[in-house]
């Protein structure tokens, strides 16, 4: 009897591990972890590393509320990603809308992550999404979201003090962009010298440094 119990326990354990390791289940777990947050507020410092745009950092506040209410309040002109960085969690929650394919392990910083590619079933703006999910903690460390409208947006997530919650201390968002150019007479920039070597397209980076999270459990 004891042996049968042990075998059942062993099989049950193995089965749960097998279920947890399917890419869809893993992504569902990611969404579930984030779903525990009803809302949050945080202070944010935004750095803009955008080719052909010179601007200083801005500070402000960032807020989020379930299911998809996201707001960032900054005083002054800011260049922000068009996508809500927390939108991916809503997408992942409904596993019937996409197919997930595991593509092996990769290191993002010091974290061993499983690369999971997501292909939506329906033809929407989203074409393809890649997630680097840390095995065991269900933390997303990197995403690459390709949409028809905006090209590929790559986001790196760095976690710090709030490691119990899937809320990053730093978000590094890279956006595909084309080079800014206007005729000299339009800009009245009479004495400027044209830089011949600039590429036609580039990546613009926006870095969000969050602090003082105030989280409401949902």
């Amino acid at each position: 009897m004891k042996i049968i119990r042990l075998i059942t326990l062993f099989l049950g354990f193995n089965m749960s591990v097998a279920i947890a390791q399917t890419p869809s289940t893993q992504l569902y777990q990611v969404a579930k972890e984030f779903g525990k947050i009803a809302s949050f507020n945080a202070n944010v410092k935004v750095q803009f590393l955008i080719p052909s745009v010179q601007m200083s950092d801005l500070t402000g506040t960032m807020s989020y509320a379930k299911p998809n209410k996201y707001n960032i309040h900054l005083t002054g002109i800011a260049f922000l990603p068009k996508q809500n960085p927390f939108e991916i969690y809503r997408l992942l929650a409904d596993t019937t809308q996409y197919t997930a394919i595991a593509q092996g392990n990769q290191n993002i910083g010091n974290h061993v992550c499983q690369l999971i590619t997501v292909l939506p079933f329906k033809q929407t703006d989203l074409m393809l999404a890649k997630f680097w999910v840390e095995t065991g903690t269900h933390m997303v460390h990197k995403t690459e979201v390709t949409t028809r409208e905006q090209g590929t947006v790559e986001t790196l997530y760095t976690y710090g003090a709030k490691v119990n919650w899937p809320l990053p201390d730093r978000l590094n968002v890279s956006v595909d962009m084309s080079r800014f150019q206007v005729p000299k007479m339009v800009s009245a920039d009479i004495n400027s010298v044209r830089k011949q070597s600039l590429p036609k397209s580039a990546k613009g980076k926006i870095i969000f440094n969050m602090s003082n999270y105030k989280i409401k459990r949902g």
Partner: protein, 280 residues
């Protein structure tokens, strides 16, 4: 004596209707630009930033007084040399043509004092134009539109100057613009000293400024060698105060070039005036 001569020259400027053309032109241009931007400014920016707004959500890009002030400044500063040349080109030659200078030279004042007084009076006129433009274009626009960040449009980049830094940047830019226009004033003044009618120095001054500005606009290697020697290259140095991190060495160098040009024009005009025979 010099002060009395300067006062007399200023009185002459005040009495001439031509002096008001510049002030009136500035007032009209500023009001037209302010009204146009008030009505359609958002569309103007949407057009200019459309390549960036495809990739980014641009927030806080509302038209404000600082931005309008900057646009007016960069638009007007190209036209203002012509308004300055209109007055300075006539300040000596006009009096030679009417014969009043000969009478003036019979008074017990030196030729150096006369030329200094005329130059100071024309400089005061330039200062008045700049102050008037500052009041209307910048302070007037801030009063109308409120204050905020400035977007400086360059041919290959955008520079965003935060609201807290704008006052200092504008004051520095107005000082540099004054120095730039003073060089134009000196140039027209020099031409006026060489001419015996009003039209020639005004037209020659305006044509030279236009030619130099056009050369500065073209990105042709043939012009690269001469561009640093053209005073119009340095008269627009005010714009460099609106760089994200101004290149102070380059700005200082340009300001020195402007001062040297101004001194050169003044002393050549002085030499010409002192050696010229007005009895013929």
């Amino acid at each position: 004596m010099l002060l009395r001569l300067v006062a007399a020259e200023c009185y002459k400027l005040v009495k001439r209707p031509r002096s008001y053309i510049g002030l009136a032109a500035i007032t009209v241009i500023i009001m037209v630009i302010q009204m146009a931007l008030y009505a359609d400014g958002k569309r103007y920016w949407d057009f200019l930033t459309q390549s960036l707004s495809r990739s980014f959500e641009i927030t806080g890009l509302d038209f404000n007084g600082n931005m309008v002030g900057f646009i007016i400044l960069q638009t007007l500063i190209i036209q203002m040399p012509l308004l300055v040349a209109l007055i300075s080109g006539d300040i000596i030659s006009g009096e030679v043509q009417t014969g009043t200078l000969r009478m003036m030279l019979t008074r017990p004042v030196s030729r150096s004092q006369i030329i200094a007084a005329k130059f100071i009076a024309s400089e005061l006129y330039v200062l008045l134009l700049i102050v008037w433009m500052g009041i209307l274009a910048w302070l007037g626009s801030v009063w109308m539109f409120g204050s905020g960040d400035i977007v400086v449009l360059k041919s290959e980049e955008l520079v965003i100057i935060r609201n807290a830094e704008t006052t200092m940047r504008f004051l520095q830019a107005f000082f540099a613009a004054f120095l730039g226009l003073s060089v134009i004033n000196g140039f027209a003044f020099l031409l006026s000293a060489f001419s015996e009618n009003s039209i020639t120095p005004i037209v020659a001054g305006m044509s030279t400024i236009m030619l130099f500005t056009i050369i500065g606009t073209f990105d042709l290697p043939i012009f690269d060698a001469i561009k640093p020697w053209l005073f119009t290259t340095h008269t627009v140095i005010w714009r460099n105060f609106f760089d994200s991190v101004p290149d102070w060495n380059f700005i200082a160098q340009s300001l020195w070039v402007l001062l040297i040009y101004m001194a050169f024009f003044y002393f050549v005009a002085l030499w010409r005036f002192k050696t010229k025979d007005f009895t013929l």
